[in-house]
Amino acid sequence: MAVLNEEQTMLKDQAEAWVKEVAPVRAFRTLRDSGSDKGWDPAVWSAMVEMGWTGIVVPEAQGGSDLGYLTFGVLLEQTGRELTASPLLASALIGASALRLGGSDAQQRDWLPGVVDGSTVLTLAVDESNRHAPTRTAMKAEKAGDGFKLTGTKTLVPEGGEATAFVVPARTSGKPGDEDGITLFLVRGDSAGIERQRLATFDARGYANVSFDGVEVGKDAVLGEVDGGFGLLDAVLDRARAGLAAEMLGTASAAFDMTLDYLQTRKQFGAVIGSFQALGHRAAALYSQKELTRSCVEAALEALDKDADDAAQLCSLAKGKAGDFLFNMSNELIQIHGGIGMTDEFDAGFYLKRARAVESLYGNRAFHRDRYATLLGF
């Protein structure tokens, strides 16, 4: 099981200190209040590139450090703690994973250095309705000359407003619901026929609905096999889920720490409220959830690094458990803080809102319970 090695521990300490100083939740508040719809602070993003965070799962040949998913999770947990906004997950983990798992040598050479230096911002545009349902991909990819023509709309694409390129599953054959017939494409964001509708979501991140109206791509835009892309998509999604679960663990753990601090300091009825047994027991239950969630998240990331047989199960477990813990923890954060937790001036609302937004991404808890059962054969 996952015990951080020296390098990972160092990275964790570095990330923790940096996030707290440079990109804390206070900075996110400023970003939100500025009304910018970019979704992140360019200086923060540059600094992440500078520190090498964008190359963690990129092979050394393409300028990365190839340290793996467990290491990436260490960073995401820290950014999750302070709700740091950036394309780190969308581009440097998910986008890079798509290329690494599905890209030819040429594609990797063409794309990965840009991901590492931050000039390319990739994102996976997978969903087409109000729910995560990758097998239900309906977007058309018709043969057009040597290449393909894409038509359809993708919903709630993370960093969809600013991404410079999209990884897009589309249907080259079969019908929605089939695993067969899905193909992944790499589509430049400035292609003709792409339209982005930026979304004002309550977590104030840079989502967009992205429509493709006969967008033409060459055959070099195909990532992996034509018609056989579902396995690749699922593998990329599992990396997305585990990475997001690490971020969620961080978000929920920070909410836990805020709550514990409040329990230890807020006084009512002449005693700190943490001495009320009913609250103490709830805190103990949340602490237990926190520890269980950490085990699941680390196991999923480690399984990805080891390419283990049960990686898919563990990724659904991680996203599901992180979802449970974050749901409960964000509600208790508000409830235990009482009135102050309801005010926009206090940070609790940011955590609650972020909790529900990430719940919807890459499969909610019901999706992962269903997938876990299916993977276990029942």
Binding site: Q335, G338, G341, T343, R356, N364, R369
Partner: protein, 404 residues
């Protein structure tokens, strides 16, 4: 038919005739639109006419004595009036015009006020002309209200008030305030507190609206800097405001159990779910996991509303309020908060709505009620406080005094 019933049917005819004559047809069925006009806004046209006529008849506060501007009706007559208003598409805007005046302050003045206070304060409330807010919570006195520190000093012919309140709903648009203040700093926590009433239109009072996680809100922080209250506006005995204030809160709790049906229910959650999630061949919700949880919630919700009805029925048969009543605040909260969470889940990605073109008004509203609804388990005695009350007052368990 008993004589009582005959009288009631006579009253029904009277009410119907009066409504026929006085309720402006143009307003029929526009309750929800009209209810939104609650706050401090000037009324014009037919709306103004309707409020004036209702006030003149005293039927905005139907059970209050007519000498204080009420309708002097019995509870049964008031129920009949409500039925008749509903079938005429009419509604009563006065409680909303008066803020906390009709639902909380008025009944408490009726119980504890002097004759002078009744004559001074009740008629303007009954006419919907004076809006009230309440000064209870303070930054360091939330659930533990008895820790409040806003103080009032005796300055001969008036009181001088200094301190800060928080969560004063509608303070920025209210005319008068009823507040708990400390009048004897040397007494025990609950003992030195009094209930004072004073106008908000004075120099020493400043209000600052509180922005909530759901956006703008009716709540304010309210600061008192040598604000003044007349000596005659002390409600109830000096230094026994705790009793007065607690009584007032019972009126508040009654208004939060879901018992006050304001009409205009949203579409059933299962219809929303079918629309947003879809169904399979057999007509069942496509997400079976969600379907089970939706059924669980709807059953809980039904159980709650059946309990509301049962409590009401038992209260009619029995002068002692049913013990079940004490649980309704928490079950109402559970049901409402679960419903809001499920609504978000049902909407999926569309349930991340804040504003803008990508989202419908229905979606934006669902998100705002979800966020605002988190306060339900905090205000009016938090979830935990209600459970403490049940454990102690209903179940007879001793207060916590140990280290278990």
């Amino acid at each position: 038919m008993s004589t009582a019933n005959q009288d009631l049917e006579a009253f029904r005819a009277e009410a119907r005739a009066w409504l026929e004559e006085n309720f402006p047809k143009s307003l029929a069925g526009r309750a929800s639109e009209y209810m939104a006009m609650e706050g401090g806004k000037e009324l014009t046209g037919e709306a103004r006419t309707w409020v004036e006529r209702l006030a003149e008849r005293g039927w905005g506060t139907p059970t209050w004595p007519s000498e204080y501007g009420g309708g002097g009706l019995s509870a049964s007559q008031a129920a009949v009036l409500q039925e008749e208003m509903r079938s005429a598409g009419a509604f009563n805007p006065i409680p909303l015009r008066a803020g906390m005046g009709v639902t909380m302050v008025g009944p408490t003045i009726l119980e504890y006020g002097t004759e002078e206070q009744k004559q001074k304060h009740l008629p303007p409330i009954a006419r919907g002309e004076v809006r009230w807010c309440l000064g209870y919570s303070e930054p360091n006195a939330g659930s533990d209200l008895a820790s409040l520190s806003t103080r009032a000093e005796d300055a001969g012919d008036h009181w001088v008030i200094n301190g800060q309140k928080v969560w004063t709903s509608g303070a920025d648009i209210s005319d008068w305030c009823g507040a708990l203040v400390r009048t004897d700093p040397k007494a025990g926590k609950r003992d030195g507190i009094s209930f004072l009433m004073f106008t908000m239109h004075q120099e020493g009072v400043e209000t600052r609206p509180i922005r909530l996680i759901s956006g703008a809100s009716p709540f304010c922080e309210t600061f008192f800097n040598n604000a003044r209250a007349d000596k005659t506006d002390l409600l109830g005995p000096l230094n026994d405001g705790w009793t007065v204030g607690k009584r007032l809160l019972q009126h508040e709790r009654a208004s939060q159990t879901g018992a006050m049906d304001t009409g205009g229910r949203p579409a059933p959650l299962q219809e929303l779910a079918k629309r947003y999630v879809g169904t399979d061949e057999s007509g069942q919700l496509a997400d079976s996991d969600l379907r089970s949880r939706l059924a669980t919630h709807l059953m809980e919700s039904k159980a709650h509303s059946l309990t509301l009805s049962r409590v009401a029925a038992e209260a009619r048969g029995n002068p002692n309020v049913s013990a079940a009543a004490s649980i309704l605040k928490n079950t109402a909260t559970n049901v409402a908060q679960t419903r809001a969470e499920l609504t978000l889940e049902v909407m999926g990605h569309q349930g991340l709505a804040w504003e803008g073109d990508g989202f419908t008004e229905e979606e934006v509203n669902a998100v705002q009620s979800w966020l605002f609804g988190k306060a339900m388990s905090i205000y009016g005695g938090s979830f935990e406080i209600q459970y403490n009350i049940i454990a102690k007052n209903i179940l007879g368990l001793p207060e916590t005094t140990q280290k278990g």
